[in-house]
């Protein structure tokens, strides 16, 4: 136990207070609710022992970098510049809390204002907050935000339309978040190419919001979405979930009428880290500013009229508005957003373009190579894909994945675990680090699987 500077000085401090025992300080706890027996936990450990155990336990995991891996589902097996971790963990950033005292928090405030600007530039919408928990909570809170803004004028009250291709984990988060507001969810259908069914989308006109993803969960870039705002009309929010890196190459939703853009920030700033901490991007246009969730930094001046930064629009937030707050979010993912800002600024406008191209290139190369294997077919042969694509393989896809795993390749995600109807499908994810050698290894194990099944 080495984290207590006053260990061994208890009596000295107690005697100054005129007390004899630390137990005196707990005398307000009634006997009836006192814990009578010691906590049945192991002995304290030293830093050295903890490091040893951590190395052993975490070292027994199989990490994505140890073999060819095609498991993505929206998370990126990225390369994070070395500067990011080193600078973000400077103690002044790492060990600070929400910058309530702006005068001693200008560093984090400015970094977040710059983050807001970079996200705003990326998606082409004027406003960004300083992060949500992840893409799913961003999407869920975008939906409840849009309902608050549009419900009054909506002809389909308390109603939102959501793409049926939103992956189940995200749909579950959305359902949990919207059920309390009494919001009805209708699903938007897709055609055999994985594109949004336009007739189905027109039904959403007059609802509070439409939520679609670009690319969708199969990695499909859908040109039709760019006309969606015209179909649903001015008073229905178009909410678009994006792969943030794709926007280095493809048109930002702000250019085609999106009102709110959400997405996973993780590819910028932090490794996949078992799914968290990551951060959700949340950007919107002016209409939503007073109903949006989360913290936001504004430029201001100090009492000498010198430029300064501060948290603003706090009256939306729980610590002031309580049960009428726009969200319950308090702790967010600021530190990870800071890492994102560092990564984005190192990339710059040219680097983000190259990064997006690397992913587009590896996706296309893998897609071509895999689809040329006998017995394997693309689920959507006519689509354009970014990062991910789905294939149908012979036999059960869970067995296929596990067979290929035994051959040393993490071949993707078996889609049967999401939808029973897709039990022979695999979602293959590529990224900037996917090499031609990785793709050859993938092709080899898929070929081995097809032989294994036919035998």
């Amino acid at each position: 136990m080495d984290q207590l500077p006053n260990l061994g000085r208890e009596q000295e401090m107690l005697s100054i207070m005129g007390l004899n025992s630390i137990e005196d300080l707990f005398s307000n706890i009634p006997e009836k609710v006192r814990r009578k027996v010691p906590l049945p936990l192991p002995q304290p450990q030293s830093e050295e022992e903890i490091w040893r155990d951590a190395q052993h336990l975490l070292g027994s995991n199989i990490n994505l970098d140890s073999r060819p891996s095609f498991l993505s589902t929206g998370l990126s097996r990225n390369f994070v510049p070395t500067m990011v971790g080193m600078l973000a963990t400077r103690g002044e950033f790492l060990t600070s809390y929400t910058p309530y005292q702006a005068e001693v928090s200008q560093g984090m405030l400015q970094a977040m204002w710059e983050f807001q600007t970079m996200v705003s530039e990326l998606v082409n919408l004027p406003i960004s907050n300083v992060s949500m928990y992840d893409a799913s909570t961003s999407a869920a809170e975008a939906i409840t935000c849009a309902v608050r803004v549009h419900n009054k004028k909506a002809s389909q009250k308390d109603t939102v339309y959501i793409s049926e291709l939103v992956p189940p984990h995200r749909m579950s988060v959305i359902e949990n978040y919207v059920q309390g507001s009494g919001i009805d969810i209708h699903l938007l259908k897709h055609d055999e190419n994985g594109h949004l069914d336009i007739d189905s989308a027109a039904l959403a006109n007059g609802a509070c919001a439409v939520y679609v993803e670009q690319p969708n969960c199969f990695g499909i870039l859908d040109e039709g979405l760019m006309k969606l705002k015209d179909l649903i009309g001015e008073n229905t929010a178009l909410i678009v979930g994006v792969d943030a890196v794709s926007l280095g190459l493809v048109s930002p939703p702000g250019d085609w009428g999106a009102d709110i853009v959400v997405g996973e920030g993780q590819p910028f700033g932090i490794g996949p880290t078992f799914g968290g901490p990551i951060y959700g991007i949340f950007a919107c246009n002016d209409k939503y500013i007073r109903q949006m969730p989360g913290r936001i930094v504004g430029l201001t001046q100090d009492s000498n009229e010198k430029k300064a930064f501060t948290l603003t629009l706090s009256t939306r937030e729980q610590h002031i508005r309580r049960h009428r707050a726009t969200s319950n979010i308090c702790s967010n993912e600021t530190l990870i957003a800071l890492m994102g800002a560092m990564h984005m600024s190192l990339l710059g406008p040219d680097g983000i373009t190259v990064l997006a191209k690397r992913i587009a290139a590896s996706t296309e190369t893998a897609r071509k190579a895999v689809s040329s294997i006998d017995g394997v077919e693309l689920l959507h042969p006519k689509s354009s894909n970014f990062r991910e694509f789905a294939v149908r393989v012979p036999g059960d896809s869970e067995k296929a994945i596990s067979f290929m795993d035994s051959k040393g390749v993490i071949a993707g995600h078996p889609l049967g675990t999401w939808w029973d109807s897709h039990s022979s499908c695999i979602l293959i994810g590529c990224d900037e680090r996917t090499s031609s050698e990785d793709i050859s290894a993938l092709v080899t194990v898929i070929e081995e699987w097809t032989k294994e099944v036919s035998n």
């Binding site: 207590l4 975490l58 809390y97 990326l122 406003i127 799914g275 406008p349």
Partner: protein, 506 residues
């Protein structure tokens, strides 16, 4: 003042990366023309040396626990051990995907399992989920479980959640997001729960009561078991806001107090760095009757068999399980795993001695309160007005509240002025104006990781400020990077991003 957008170097001067594995024209062929982006985002063009200096400069304009004393009440700003940061950089956590098969993740699952068990033990609960990523999300998750429980019992008419007026704002906000109506009950004059007020609002529409104990005034609620009884006998559930868990570990627990559900703020009690406002981690624990509604999945284990592959060497095989009537997901994966691993490393430091941690947190709070409230006669004679205790009590737990109302009435110095003046003394200001029931409130939580010398100095500085020229205090701070910041100007002008550079060279 420089900002990052003033870096506008040449196209080739920035950070380099490998080339794509296809040619430009092949790449552009994969995407319909109409979908291509016209101009790249207007991000800075900077090199690593420039950015390292920019962010180092920003970091020096920021105050953290590492910079100095950070007595921010309710936030438990304790030291963050550095080995924890080293551990989460191991590829066995940093380079892991949440959907990898179980035999890839035995080490992580064992840590998840150990944390679930440890938190259940410390709180007197039966089952814990680590999925919620912040205290507020933990509250929301637990209230969703309670909601499903009532629905299954055929009691979906229970639509009211009771919170004391001293509660954290997240409590009513989280319950409201679940669709509940909020009933706020006043606290008794001493800041404790008013049992008569509670009795008068419970009924067959009561879904739950949400409360933190020790309360936000830092006072242990002696009638807590009675409050639980009142709510339970009306058919409601008791929810424990674990924000103040640092005060009680090993001394009592929410289970003993009669609670059905609890959230933990791992970033407070177990030292996940707060990082400018997050990440956090907000696991919840519940009693048996609520456990089947918990988010999915949970870590579980069984004894290893001959057919199993090699595990972590402790004789168990770990796996994911899904509670029978799970509410599904609140975060899309398994929560903030990185925070869970850091907090595991932190807890291992104490093990069965966690009680010592709470003892020292409470010792430090009482010591600091004593030092502030008992100045020498010499100092006292120069003070404009002493603060008054936010709650009349002999002993507080891990934090305490002071009211500066007398100071405000006598010389016009507000709690905020005092907080700003403290910044000039090289410490972070306490939490300000919370709980709202204490006028001109300062809420102070030293945590167990501060030495006696730090506490002595803070008390001396605090008392010294009370003797300073009121006009001086009202103009503070003076030594910080910027002087007092105009929040109204910010809200009026809403400049929420950089306006952009006028000439573009794309």
């Amino acid at each position: 003042m420089s900002d990052i957008f003033s870096f506008n170097g040449s196209q080739n001067a920035g950070w380099s990366q490998p080339e794509p594995i296809l040619s430009d024209s092949e790449i552009l062929d994969t995407i319909p023309k109409s979908m291509l982006r016209n101009n790249p985002p207007n991000w800075p063009r900077a090199s690593e040396p420039e950015l390292v200096r920019h962010y180092t400069w920003l970091s020096r304009r920021n105050f953290g626990i590492d910079t100095g004393f950070y007595p921010l009440g309710s936030c438990t700003m304790k030291h963050n051990p550095r080995v924890n940061e080293k551990i989460v950089n191991l590829p066995g956590i940093d380079r892991m995907h949440p959907l990898q098969p179980e035999h890839h993740i035995q080490g992580l699952l064992s840590i998840f399992y150990e944390m679930q068990e440890m938190l259940a033990i410390c709180s007197g609960m039966d089952q814990v989920t680590l999925q919620p990523v912040a205290g507020a999300q933990g509250e929301f998750t637990a209230m969703r479980c309670i909601q499903e429980y009532h629905r299954e019992m055929g009691e979906s008419h229970r639509d009211k959640v009771i919170v004391p007026d001293s509660a954290h704002g997240t409590n009513p906000a989280s319950a409201s997001m679940c669709g509940y109506d909020i009933i706020e009950i006043p606290s008794a004059e001493d800041g404790r729960i008013d049992l008569d007020a509670l009795r008068s609002v419970v009924g067959d529409d009561t879904a739950a009561m949400m409360i933190t104990n020790p309360s936000t005034l830092g006072v242990f609620e002696p009638d807590i078991a009675k409050a639980s009884e009142i709510v339970h006998s009306a058919g409601g559930q008791m929810y424990y806001d674990g924000a103040n868990f640092n005060a009680i570990i090993g001394k009592t627990d929410p289970g003993l107090m009669g609670f059905d559900a609890v959230h933990y703020n791992l970033h407070k009690t177990f030292s996940q760095p707060h990082g400018g406002g997050g990440p956090g981690s907000g696991p919840i624990g519940v009693k048996e009757h609520l456990s089947k509604y918990l988010p999915s999945p949970l870590a579980s284990r069984r004894e290893i068999t001959d057919e199993d592959p090699e595990g972590v060497g402790d004789g168990y095989w770990y796996s994911w399980t899904s509670p029978e009537k799970s509410i599904g997901k609140v975060q899309q994966w398994h929560g903030n795993a990185g925070a869970v691993v850091r907090c595991w490393a932190f807890y291992r430091r104490y093990g069965r001695e966690l009680e010592k941690m709470s003892e020292h947190a409470v010792l430090n709070a009482n010591y600091l309160r004593y030092k502030i409230m008992n100045p020498s006669q010499e100092v006292l004679s120069k003070i404009h007005a002493m603060p008054s205790d936010g709650a009349p009590t002999d002993f507080v737990m891990h934090e305490f509240t002071l009211s500066m109302i007398e100071m405000k009435d006598k010389v016009g110095v507000t709690g905020k002025d005092l907080a700003k003046r403290l910044l000039d003394y090289g410490v972070m200001a306490p939490t300000l104006y919370f709980p709202m029931i204490v006028p001109e409130c300062l809420m102070i939580e030293p945590t167990e990781t501060e030495s006696k010398e730090v506490l002595d100095k803070f008390a001396d500085d605090f008392l010294h400020i009370l003797t300073e020229d009121p006009e001086l205090i009202k103009g503070a701070p003076y030594t910080t990077d910027v002087s007092r910041v105009d929040e109204v100007w910010a809200a009026r002008n809403l400049i929420l991003r950089h306006p952009g550079n006028s000439s573009e060279d794309n």
